[in-house]
């Protein structure tokens, strides 16, 4: 509780939390309620300007943009969060194991990951999408595979450098098991780069999903995501730039919020900023 209070007490923490809160609330709301059916087209009412019935106007099929953005928020955010789970959990596990065990496991894993990293992440995702076929879970799986090497390498690097510390040696000389040392002494000191990477990844995933949608391999239309709303807008961008600006703005707000919150979180988790339990 005190932690949350201090996190929100900082300008970047508060701004980030507000923006993220806004995005998440919109996403949750969009999953159950939208002013109009986001899929229902109304060809007589294409490219309508903002009006009380359609606060943000309508798109090229006469669909309500606000409704589409709300439902799109749900789709995009759930893909973003879903994609973070596998790389962060599996990547931390693999990276920690490789960095701490060293030896053949480390060499083999790094070899495989380096091979994966040699391809641009998006290219791997593209290939996988072509196999799986465009659907939401395919996007999550493909992007997870694409981002796994980055997380693993970052965690492995941090574990390697922290393992050199004298306090890790001190733990070994106290007769602590290697697993205990890894969990208690090494991993907590590797969190800062992982948090930064995770927050950045959330942003990349939003963009990557829109890139996949742009190529027709993302969430299949008519189901809206911020990415494919943006992709659909490209044909009309010159005459109706607002069609592209609105989903772009949504993505930007989400990224800004995540980055601000991530920064604040990293600073706050640093013990140097924590107050003592007792003040002497």
């Amino acid at each position: 509780m005190i932690f949350a209070k201090r996190l929100l007490g900082k300008a970047n923490g508060l701004t980030g939390a507000l923006l993220i809160g806004l995005v998440f609330c919109t996403a949750l709301l969009g999953s159950v309620y939208t002013p109009h059916d986001p899929l229902k087209s109304d060809l007589l009412n294409r490219f309508a300007a903002a009006s009380p019935a359609h606060p943000l106007g309508t798109d090229m099929f006469g669909r309500d943009i606000l409704s589409r953005l709300m439902r799109g928020a749900w789709v995009s955010v759930s893909i973003g969060l879903g994609t973070l789970v596998i790389p962060v959990l599996l990547g931390t596990f693999l990276g920690a194991a490789a960095g701490f065990l060293r030896g053949w496991f480390d060499r083999l894993l790094i070899m495989v990951l380096d091979a994966l990293m040699a391809f641009p992440g998006l290219l791997i995702a593209l290939g996988l999408m072509a196999v799986i076929g465009p659907n939401r879970y395919g996007v999550i799986l493909a992007l997870s595979v694409a981002y796994l090497p980055a997380v693993t390498r970052v965690v492995r690097g941090a574990v390697l450098s922290v393992s050199q510390s004298e306090y890790v040696e001190a733990s070994a000389t106290m007769g602590n098991s290697r697993l205990y040392t890894l969990i208690v002494h090494v991993l907590p000191n590797c969190m800062a780069p992982l948090i930064v990477l995770t927050t950045m990844m959330f942003g990349w995933v939003l963009l990557a999903e829109s890139a996949l949608s742009f190529l027709g391999l993302g969430v299949p239309p008519p189901e809206p995501s911020w990415g494919n709303i943006l992709a659909e807008a490209k044909a009309h961008l010159v005459r109706y730039p607002v069609l592209g600006l609105l989903p772009g703005l949504c993505i930007s707000i989400a990224l800004l919020g995540v980055n601000l919150l991530g920064d604040a979180l990293r600073d706050e988790l640093d013990p140097k900023s924590a107050p003592s339990k007792e003040v002497i």
Partner: protein
């Protein structure tokens, strides 16, 4: 000679006050430095001595500012509104700076030559060939051989001492009128420290450069400085000629500092007779470096060669040598942090390599470690209480509350307040952290402590406190200790017996008292003269002198000298009862 302007001071500081925020870290300091003079600025960490050095150059770290007073360098107001161009011209050309950390003060990406010439190009209009000649001359002045080849090499190819010499050479190239050396040798070990300081003083004398030598170690600078200024908590408490400050200290803080530098009479901790608690038999450790992925075979380096030593229960045994001598490796081999290539480690009658895993774990619980660097030996994400209590983790009979209580008791025993348990390591000073490390080691009441340079990262005054603490804790708990250090005088304080190590071999071993009274091996003498200590002489305090090494002969046989190739046959001969010296030749 530097282009001196008469006989006035090179630098004069008047009523200087430096503030961080609203808190002054340096309060009304008055100092002056005459041309060619060496002034030592001595104080503990946090006394503000480095801030003065930085203020002179106008390089105060962010948040710091000169709030009062003036710094005048040859008539230039360094603190006033000097245009940045002018300030830059003075830095480097007229005032040089040598930092503490030679490992990070040279750019690892630049060749030595480029780095040395950089400042010359900036500040003079000599042509490249002239600059190169000047660089070569400077490298010879700091006694580096093969200067031509050296220019094309990178910093990582050199040891800390050589890098510091390169640093001095590149700073002195411009013949500055003033050199500010901020703890230039604190990161180096004793033998190298003496070398570097000798060279620095010599080069400065040759170029007519004045030096402000900033250090926490009064004994080290006393040999070089004409005048000594002592700082405490931002105030200049005493300044005067070296002899006057040493012999007739006026301020209580100076006396305290001098007392710490003397370390008092040695009080060796003798152990019980009988079977040894720890004995190493023919220990060997080697490091294998694989060449080209192992295809070209391995290059093996012998870090420890055939070392045998014993520690009696309750005894303090010293293990001394310069860095690279393998002394830390022995401690690490005992703690299984490196694997041994051969030899036996016998603890309390059990061979640590030859008993069952459970037995070995049980035995190892009775050995605990204290490391050198208190800043990296404590997990930054754990509170002190938890760090100390971790030493009890394997004692299953205790509840969490009992552990906490025991940890707080232990904190009190090492002289820290109980409330410290709630803090994180970064909030503690170096000395306090080392106390925490000692508490963590002692909380499980071990029989043996391996202390690897436990005080060398600390200020002199704090060193004395930690040594006294170890002594009193030993009386209370009765543990034995293998005390690893490069500083013979610190080892002398506590240890009943002493092993002197060089290039992985024991050079000399014996009772500390006899070894100090009559050191036989030249290497031991070198080590002794390298760490200067003050002692009371007829005219007050003076630097202790150690006679030069005898001839390289001891009776019939020559001393074993590891520097001349370690392949020569080696044996330890008993020079006096219990006093062994390394000789060349077969037994």
């Amino acid at each position: 000679m530097g282009n001196g302007t008469g006989t006035g001071p090179v630098l004069s500081i008047e009523d200087l006050e430096i503030c961080f925020g609203s808190a002054p870290v340096v309060k009304s300091v008055n100092l002056s430095v005459a041309p060619g003079e060496i002034l030592a600025l001595v104080g503990e960490s946090g006394s503000g001595k480095s801030m003065i050095g930085r203020a002179i150059l106008g390089l105060l770290p962010g948040g710091g500012r000169v709030s009062r007073g003036r710094v005048a360098f040859r008539g230039h107001e360094m603190t006033g509104a000097l245009p940045p161009r002018e300030l830059r011209r003075l830095r480097g050309k007229e005032i040089g700076l040598v930092f503490q950390e030679p490992l990070s003060s040279l750019n690892p990406n630049m060749r030595i030559g480029e780095q040395m010439c950089e400042a010359m190009r900036e500040h003079t209009d000599l042509n490249p060939a002239q600059i190169r000649d000047r660089a070569l001359e400077m490298l010879r002045q700091v006694r580096l051989d093969d200067a031509e080849r050296l220019l094309n090499r990178y910093p990582h190819e050199f040891s800390g001492g050589m890098r510091q010499r390169i640093m001095i050479a590149s700073v002195m190239m411009l013949k500055p009128a003033l050199l500010i050396a901020d703890e230039p040798t604190t990161a180096l070990d004793a033998v190298v420290q003496k070398e570097v300081l000798d060279i620095m003083a010599e080069v400065a004398r040759a170029n007519g450069t004045a030096i402000i030598l900033i250090s926490h170690d009064l004994a080290v600078v006393a040999a070089y400085a004409a005048r000594i200024a002592v700082m405490d908590k931002g105030c200049l408490v005493e300044a005067g000629s070296a002899a006057a400050v040493l012999c007739r200290p006026q301020h209580p803080y100076t006396r305290k500092l001098l007392a710490a530098a003397q370390l008092g009479a040695p009080e060796p901790v003798k152990g019980a007779a009988g079977a040894p608690l720890l004995s190493l038999e023919g220990l060997q450790v080697e490091f294998a470096e694989r060449r080209f992925f192992g295809l070209l075979g391995e290059r093996r380096t012998q870090a420890v060669q055939d070392v045998s030593l014993t520690v009696q229960p309750g005894e303090f045994v010293g293990l001394a040598g310069e860095s690279g001598s393998g002394k830390s490796t022995i401690g690490r081999a005992i703690g299984k942090l490196v694997t041994k290539a051969a030899g036996r480690i016998v603890f309390d009658g059990h061979d640590l390599g030859g008993c069952s895993a459970a037995e070995e774990r049980r035995l190892r619980q009775r050995i605990r470690f204290v490391f050198q660097d208190p800043f990296s030996s404590l997990n930054p994400r754990m509170r002190i209480g938890r760090i100390v209590a971790e030493g009890l983790r394997h004692d299953r009979s205790l509840s969490a509350d009992e552990r906490r209580a025991r940890a707080e008791d232990m904190l009190e025993a090492v002289g820290l307040p109980r409330a410290m348990a709630g803090r994180f390591p970064h909030a503690l000073s170096g000395g306090q952290r080392q106390r925490v490390a000692i508490a963590r080691a002692l909380i499980s009441r071990p029989d043996l402590i391996i202390a690897d340079e436990p005080v060398s990262a600390l200020d002199v005054t704090v060193q004395a406190q930690i040594l006294a603490l170890l002594k009193s804790l030993q009386r209370e708990y009765g543990f034995a200790c293998l005390f690893i250090s490069h500083d013979l005088h610190i080892v002398e304080q506590l240890c009943a017996r002493l092993y002197v190590l060089h290039k992985g071999r024991i050079m000399e071993q014996g009772e500390t008292g006899t070894l100090f009274a009559a050191p036989r091996h030249p290497y031991t003498r070198r080590l002794m003269s390298a760490s200067p200590r003050l002692e009371s002489g007829p005219g007050g305090l003076q630097l202790a002198q150690v006679g030069p090494a005898d001839a390289a002969q001891d009776g019939e046989s020559a001393f074993f000298d590891a520097t001349g190739g370690s392949e020569a046959p080696y044996r330890l001969a008993e020079a006096a009862p219990g006093h062994f010296v390394a000789l060349r030749g077969a037994a």
